[in-house]
C-alpha cells in the first residue's frame, strides 16, 4: 500500500510542470525536523548560491524509518533521490544493497574530487566504512551517548553539584541518595538498547556480536548474554524497584523525565544538548558515561549514533559530480565547526575539531568536548569500532522488549538476554538469507 501511495505521489510530482533551469537538480531526502530542518535547508541554500552548476533540493520525508522506507520504495519504482539520510541502524541494510547505492569513496574518486579519508575523524567514519576502511556513506549528524546531571537536584540532595559520579557503583549509590532526599527518580536512560547495551558494550570493550560486531562478516552472532551485561541489567532492575533507576520508554521519552526534573540524571545522546539547553529550568552538566571499574579495559571508547548520507545508484555521471562537490562543501572546516557548536552533534573532520578547540569554545562551554573526548580517547578495538548488523532496527526492539520484562520484574536479566540473543540471531540469519544474491 505504502509503496503504491508513494509511487502515486511521485507520479503526480513528476507530471507537474517543471521550470527549466540551468543547474542540475539533486534531490536530498532527509528526516530532520524543527531547528535541524532549518539547518538542512540553510546548508542547501548556501551550496546553491556558492556555485551555479548544481541545485540541491532538500525534501523532508518523515521519521528516520519513514525516510528509509520512502527511499526503498522510490528505488523500487525507479525514482530514488540522489542523496538520502539514513539512520545508523540502517547501515547494514544499505550496505547489502549493492547496486542500489554508490559508495562515497568511489563517488569521490570518479568525480575527481579531492578526498582524503584521513581528514575525517576515524571514530565517526569507521561506523560507515568497510572493514578495510573505505568510506561508504557520508557522516552527517553523528552523536554519542553521554551522562547529563541536574546540578540543582544534586545540591539539594547535599551532593557536590559540580561532580558527576564516574563509575556505575557510584552512579547507583548517588541515585539512591537522590531518592532518599525525595527526588522521584535518580537515573533514567533514553534509547535503552543504544545506551545500555550498544554503548555499554563498546565502553567496556566487550563484544556485542562476533566478527567485530558484524563489521567483518554477515555471519556474526550476538553475544549480549555475557556476565558483565547480565550483572549490569540486573543492577538496573534492582534499582527500578525503588525508582533510583526508572525506565521511561525506548527512544527519547525519558528526556522528558529529565527535563521536568523528575529524574536527576540521564544517559542519552549528546545531541539532546540543544533540547536541554532551551528547555531545562535548572543548571545541568555533562559527563562521560560511567563504567564498572572491575571490567578490564573499561573505559574504552563510545560509539556513534545519528545518521549518514547515502548516495543512490543508477544516476548520471554529471549528477554524481554534483553530489561529490556537495560532500566537499559539507566537509569545510567552518561549516562543520558551526554545526558542531550549534547542535551537540560531533564534528566529522579533524580540522573542524581542532578549530573548535583553538577558538576556545570548549573552555567557554564546559562539557561540550566530552562527546568527542569519550569517542577519541583510545584507539578503537574491534569491540568499539561500530556495529554492522542486519535487521538492527528490529533487534533493538527485541532487546528493548526483553529489557522491559526485566524492569517490570517479570524476568531475570540472564534469561531475558538469552532470549534476545536467540531471537536476534534468527533475524540476523534471515537478513543473511534475504540479501544473498
Amino acid at each position: 500500500m505504502k509503496q503504491i501511495i508513494t509511487g502515486a505521489a511521485l507520479a503526480v510530482w513528476l507530471a507537474a510542470p517543471v521550470a527549466f533551469a540551468e543547474p542540475v537538480e539533486l534531490q536530498w531526502w532527509h528526516a530532520m525536523t524543527s531547528v535541524n530542518a532549518d539547518r538542512v535547508n540553510k546548508i542547501a541554500a548556501d551550496f546553491n548560491t556558492a556555485q551555479t552548476g548544481y541545485k540541491i533540493v532538500p525534501v523532508f520525508k518523515g521519521s528516520y524509518a519513514e525516510t528509509m522506507n520512502a527511499g526503498v520504495a522510490a528505488y523500487r519504482a525507479g525514482n530514488a533521490p540522489h542523496i538520502i539520510q539514513i539512520f545508523e541502524v540502517g547501515t547494514a541494510t544499505m550496505m547489502a544493497a549493492k547496486g542500489a547505492v554508490k559508495p562515497v569513496y568511489q563517488l569521490m574518486a570518479e568525480a575527481g574530487e579531492p578526498f582524503d579519508q584521513n581528514a575525517y575523524l576515524p571514530a565517526v567514519t569507521a561506523y560507515y566504512s568497510t572493514a578495510d576502511g573505505k568510506m561508504l556513506s557520508f557522516p552527517f549528524n553523528s552523536s554519542t551517548a553521554i551522562t547529563y546531571w541536574n546540578k540543582d537536584a544534586f545540591k539539594k540532595a547535599g551532593l557536590d553539584p559540580d561532580k558527576a559520579p564516574q563509575t556505575w557503583p557510584e552512579t547507583l549509590a548517588v541515585a539512591q541518595k537522590l531518592r532518599a532526599t525525595g527526588v522521584p527518580c535518580g537515573l533514567t536512560a533514553a534509547w535503552i538498547s543504544w545506551t545500555q547495551i550498544e554503548q555499554f558494550s563498546a565502553w567496556h570493550n566487550i563484544p556485542l556480536a562476533t566478527k567485530a560486531n558484524g563489521l567483518e562478516g554477515a555471519d556474526a552472532v550476538l553475544e549480549i548474554n555475557n556476565p558483565v551485561l547480565a550483572k549490569h541489567i540486573q543492577n538496573l532492575a534492582a534499582a527500578e524497584k525503588d525508582k533510583s533507576f526508572d525506565y521511561g520508554g525506548r527512544t527519547t521519552e525519558p528526556e522528558g523525565k529529565f527535563l521536568n526534573g523528575e529524574c536527576a540524571m540521564i544517559q542519552t545522546s549528546s545531541a539532546a544538548f540543544g533540547i536541554f539547553k532551551s528547555g531545562a529550568k535548572f543548571d545541568f552538566g555533562m559527563a562521560e558515561l560511567p563504567y564498572y571499574p572491575d571490567v578490564a579495559g573499561a573505559p574504552q571508547n563510545s560509539i556513534i549514533g545519528g545518521a549518514s548520507l547515502w548516495v543512490m545508484g543508477g544516476k548520471k555521471p554529471e549528477e554524481y559530480n554534483g553530489v561529490a562537490k556537495f560532500f566537499t562543501f559539507l566537509s569545510q572546516t567552518g561549516l562543520q565547526q558551526k554545526l558542531h557548536e550549534d547542535t551537540g552533534y560531533l564534528p566529522i573532520t579533524k580540522a573542524a575539531y581542532e578549530a573548535t578547540k583553538a577558538s576556545g569554545f570548549y573552555k567557554k562551554n564546559p562539557g561540550r568536548e566530552i562527546p568527542v573526548l569519550q569517542m577519541t580517547a583510545k584507539q578503537p578495538t574491534e569491540n568499539s569500532r561500530g556495529l554492522r548488523l542486519g535487521n538492527l532496527v528490529q533487534i533493538r526492539d527485541i532487546i528493548a522488549e526483553d529489557l522491559e520484562t526485566v524492569f517490570a520484574g517479570k524476568s531475570d536479566a540472564k534469561p531475558a538476554l538469552d532470549d534476545a540473543v536467540k531471537r536476534g540471531n534468527d533475524l540476523l540469519r534471515q537478513f543473511q538469507r534475504n540479501t544473498q544474491q
Binding site: 526503498v72 528505488y75 521536568n260 534475504n434
Partner: protein, 277 residues
C-alpha cells in the same frame, strides 16, 4: 464501470500484490527475489509473537466493541428522552467522532502519560502505581479506552436513529398494557434495535481490527514487550519498519482471510437470527 475500475485498482491489485509477495523472500530493495512457497506462512504461524498478537487482537476488539456499544446505547436512550436543548446534547456527544484516531491517541496520552499526564499524576497520588510504559495490562487498558471512547459517538448516532425509527404507538400500547419502563426497553425497544446493533457490532469489530492503528502508534507503539501489538500494527511494523516484505505480506493475507471468513459467518448465520422489524 468506473466503480469497477476503482475496485480493481484499489482492492484487487493490492490484494494480488500481497499474495504475490507473501510467497516470496526479498531484500528491502528488491535486488534479489526468491520464490519460497508457503515458507513465510509457516514462519509466521510458528512465531509465538504472532499467536500472542492474535490473542491480543481478539481481546482488544471484543473489549473495544462492548465498551463502545453499551455506553453508545445508554447515551442514545437518554438523549432520546431529552426534550430541551436536545440538539446541543447530540452535537456534543458526536464530537469525539470528528477526532482522528491519531489525535485521540495523543489526547489520551496527555491525560495518562506517567510523567506529565494529569490523570496519571492523580492516580499516583491515590497510591496507584500507574506506569503503562512498563505495565502491559495498564497499556492495553489505556488503548482500549481510547479506542472505545472514539467509537461511542458513532454508535450513539446509529442507536439514536434506530430509536427514533421505532413507532411511538408500539411503546404506548405496551405502556397501556402495564409494562414498566424497564420491560418496555428490554421487550420492545431492544429487540427492535437488533438490526442496528448487529450492524454496529460488525462495524465496531472492523474498526477495532483496522482503524485503531493511529491510537496504538501514538500511545504505546505496540509495547511494552508487545502487549498492545494488534495484528494490523504487526503487519505495519514488519513491513514498513522492519522491511520484511514477505513476512508482512503473509500476515496481510492471513488477515484478509480472517476478515472474509468473519464477514461470511456473520452474514450467513447471525443475520438470519436477527429480527428485522
Amino acid at each position: 464501470m468506473p466503480q469497477l475500475a476503482v475496485t480493481v485498482v484499489f482492492f484487487f491489485w493490492p490484494a494480488g500484490q500481497a499474495i504475490l509477495q507473501s510467497v516470496q523472500r526479498e531484500d528491502a530493495f528488491g535486488l534479489s527475489t526468491r520464490f519460497v512457497g508457503l515458507e513465510n506462512f509457516a514462519s509466521v504461524l510458528a512465531d509465538p509473537h504472532y499467536l500472542a498478537s492474535v490473542e491480543i487482537t481478539l481481546l482488544f476488539s471484543v473489549a473495544v466493541a462492548s465498551l463502545a456499544l453499551a455506553p453508545g446505547l445508554l447515551l442514545a436512550v437518554m438523549a432520546n428522552q431529552v426534550t430541551r436543548a436536545g440538539t446541543l446534547y447530540k452535537t456534543l456527544l458526536l464530537l469525539p467522532y470528528a477526532v482522528a484516531p491519531a489525535i485521540a491517541g495523543v489526547l489520551w496520552l496527555f491525560l495518562f502519560n506517567p510523567s506529565v499526564g494529569i490523570i496519571a499524576v492523580a492516580l499516583r497520588r491515590a497510591g496507584i502505581d500507574w506506569n503503562y510504559i512498563l505495565n502491559g495490562p495498564q497499556a492495553l487498558l489505556l488503548v482500549i479506552l481510547a479506542a472505545a471512547w472514539k467509537q461511542i459517538s458513532y454508535n450513539f448516532l446509529f442507536f439514536l436513529a434506530g430509536l427514533q425509527a421505532i413507532p411511538q404507538s408500539l411503546i404506548e400500547a405496551a405502556a397501556l398494557d402495564g409494562a414498566d419502563r424497564r420491560r418496555r426497553f428490554w421487550q420492545i425497544i431492544f429487540p427492535l434495535l437488533a438490526p442496528t446493533s448487529f450492524f454496529l457490532l460488525v462495524v465496531n469489530i472492523v474498526y477495532a481490527f483496522f482503524d485503531t492503528f493511529g491510537i496504538i502508534q501514538n500511545v504505546t507503539q505496540g509495547g511494552p514487550a508487545r502487549t498492545t501489538e494488534i495484528l494490523v500494527y504487526k503487519v505495519w511494523y514488519d513491513g514498513v519498519v522492519a522491511l520484511d516484505l514477505g513476512g508482512s505480506a503473509a500476515q496481510s493475507v492471513i488477515l484478509m482471510a480472517i476478515v472474509i471468513a468473519l464477514t461470511a459467518i456473520q452474514f450467513r448465520f447471525v443475520e438470519r437470527r436477527v429480527h428485522y422489524g
